[in-house]
């Protein structure tokens, strides 16, 4: 089996994987980083969003081997120590999560939005979230959280 080497949350990890091993399986099953979730099989729900080389991608639609040599950040790597990342803190402050299942992907997606657009409008936020489905919140408080994080700055 081929070996893949990926720097995950700052830590270099090498494992033997099959060609068909998805990045999300590598994270969940090989590294036990179970914060990245799988909510669909058609690349639409976004529960699996992580950053690969700083860009948000769907870890269910990327082979682990495609990420060989990459830097990957998952939800587990977002906070610094016990201090929540500003986007995580904004989600908590604005009740932007309920069951928590879509939350990791939602937060990772939102962080990437602010990297690209530091002060998005409500419409831009809603459009950016096209690839993240939440069944609990009706998105209202997620949008509020992202707006607030943008206003606070430094959430990208």
């Amino acid at each position: 089996m081929p070996t893949v080497t990926i720097t995950v949350n700052g830590q270099q990890e090498s494992r033997e994987v099959e060609g068909r091993t998805l990045l999300v399986q590598f994270l969940r099953e090989h590294l036990n980083l179970t914060g990245t979730h799988v909510g669909c099989d058609t690349s639409q729900c976004g529960a699996c969003v992580v950053h690969v080389n700083g860009q948000s991608v769907k870890a269910c639609t990327m082979l682990a081997l495609q990420a060989d040599g990459s830097e990957v950040t998952t939800i587990e790597g977002l906070a610094s120590g016990s201090e929540l990342h500003p986007m995580q803190a904004a989600f908590r402050e604005h009740h932007g999560l309920q069951c928590g299942f879509c939350t990791p992907g939602m937060v990772m997606s939102a962080v990437d939005l602010l990297q690209k657009n530091a002060s998005p409008s409500e419409k831009e936020i809603r459009e950016w979230l096209e690839g993240n489905i939440c069944r609990c919140t009706g998105y209202h408080n997620i949008v509020n959280a992202i707006q607030d994080a943008a206003q606070q700055g430094s959430a990208a």
């Binding site: 081929p2 099959e18 060609g19 068909r20 998805l22 099989d41 058609t42 690349s43 639409q44 976004g46 969003v49 860009q55 948000s56 991608v57 769907k58 269910c60 639609t61 990327m62 082979l63 081997l65 495609q66 060989d68 997606s109 990437d112 939005l113 950016w128 096209e130 690839g131 993240n132």
Partner: protein, 265 residues
């Protein structure tokens, strides 16, 4: 997913070699359609040849008055490119509306057109803008490239390397997305270059097509008011639970009007 051998060549030449060597090889560009297809076990290639490290296939440049977009350039890169925005903003906005942000970070123009999904946006972009598809073997006008449902003019082992887009005087893309999948129910690229007008429609039929009747009426008067009914044969248009063929035919006209208005600024 069935298992497969995985190869990640660094050059086009190596990719060709890997593909030839494989028993039943499959090229992978961004993988945003291929991987879901593999996950559903709808394809069983012996080997995947990943073009992700072939740097010569990336990038956007201007050449002889045309925009040349490397096959492995992602939708996000096309959408964000200042060069694209300044020369063909319609192409930038088309790329910005494909899938969702995460798909745009991985999905590529080469992968999209080689797959030729009947509801994909790029086929309309290529045909509407009169693009030329460059492969490792030849150049193919977009009008001849998209043959049918998931079918292109590509030969076995032929690899798309770039797409060149002549810069039009005016162009715009208008899309009516499927509310569920967000693929185009109808997407229309309208472009005017000199006295020529091209109207390319995706989503409505079994593959991208030009609406020659609307092109004719726009050639003399490039305004939304001049857009009449689509000449598409309703019987040949797609009809499903999301949209009947009659509705799609109507939307071709509406989306064309909106594209023309947008193109006219």
């Amino acid at each position: 997913m069935y298992n497969f051998g995985y190869h990640r060549p660094n050059s086009l030449a190596d990719a060709v070699t890997e593909l030839q060597r494989a028993e039943d090889g499959q090229l992978m560009a961004g993988g945003q359609t291929l991987i879901p297809t593999l996950k559903q076990r709808l394809a069983q290639p012996s080997d995947i040849v990943d073009l992700g490290q072939v740097d010569e296939l990336r990038g956007i440049r201007e050449e002889d008055g045309a925009l040349v977009v490397g096959a492995m350039t992602t939708h996000a890169e096309v959408a964000a490119s200042d060069l694209v925005k300044s020369r063909i903003p319609a192409l930038s906005s088309l790329a910005d509306g494909i899938g969702d942000p995460q798909v745009r970070h991985r999905g590529t123009i080469g992968g999209s057109i080689a797959n030729n999904d009947p509801a994909a946006d790029y086929p309309a972009g290529c045909v509407g803008l009169g693009a030329t598809i460059h492969t490792n073997q030849r150049q193919i006008p977009a009008d001849d490239f998209f043959v049918g449902l998931f079918e292109t003019a590509l030969d076995e082992g032929e690899i798309v390397t770039a797409v060149s887009f002549p810069v039009p005087d005016k162009a715009a893309y208008a899309k009516f997305p499927n509310p569920a999948s967000r693929y185009a129910i109808v997407g229309v690229m309208v472009a005017q270059a000199g006295s020529t007008v091209r109207v390319a429609v995706t989503g409505a039929g079994p593959g991208v097509f030009r609406d020659h009747a609307i092109e004719g009426s726009l050639a003399g008067n490039f305004s939304a008011d001049a857009v009449g009914a689509s000449s598409a044969d309703e019987g040949s248009l797609n009809s499903d639970m999301h949209a009947s063929s009659a509705y799609r035919k109507h939307l071709i006209s509406v989306m064309t009007k909106r594209a023309v208005s947008a193109a006219n600024g």
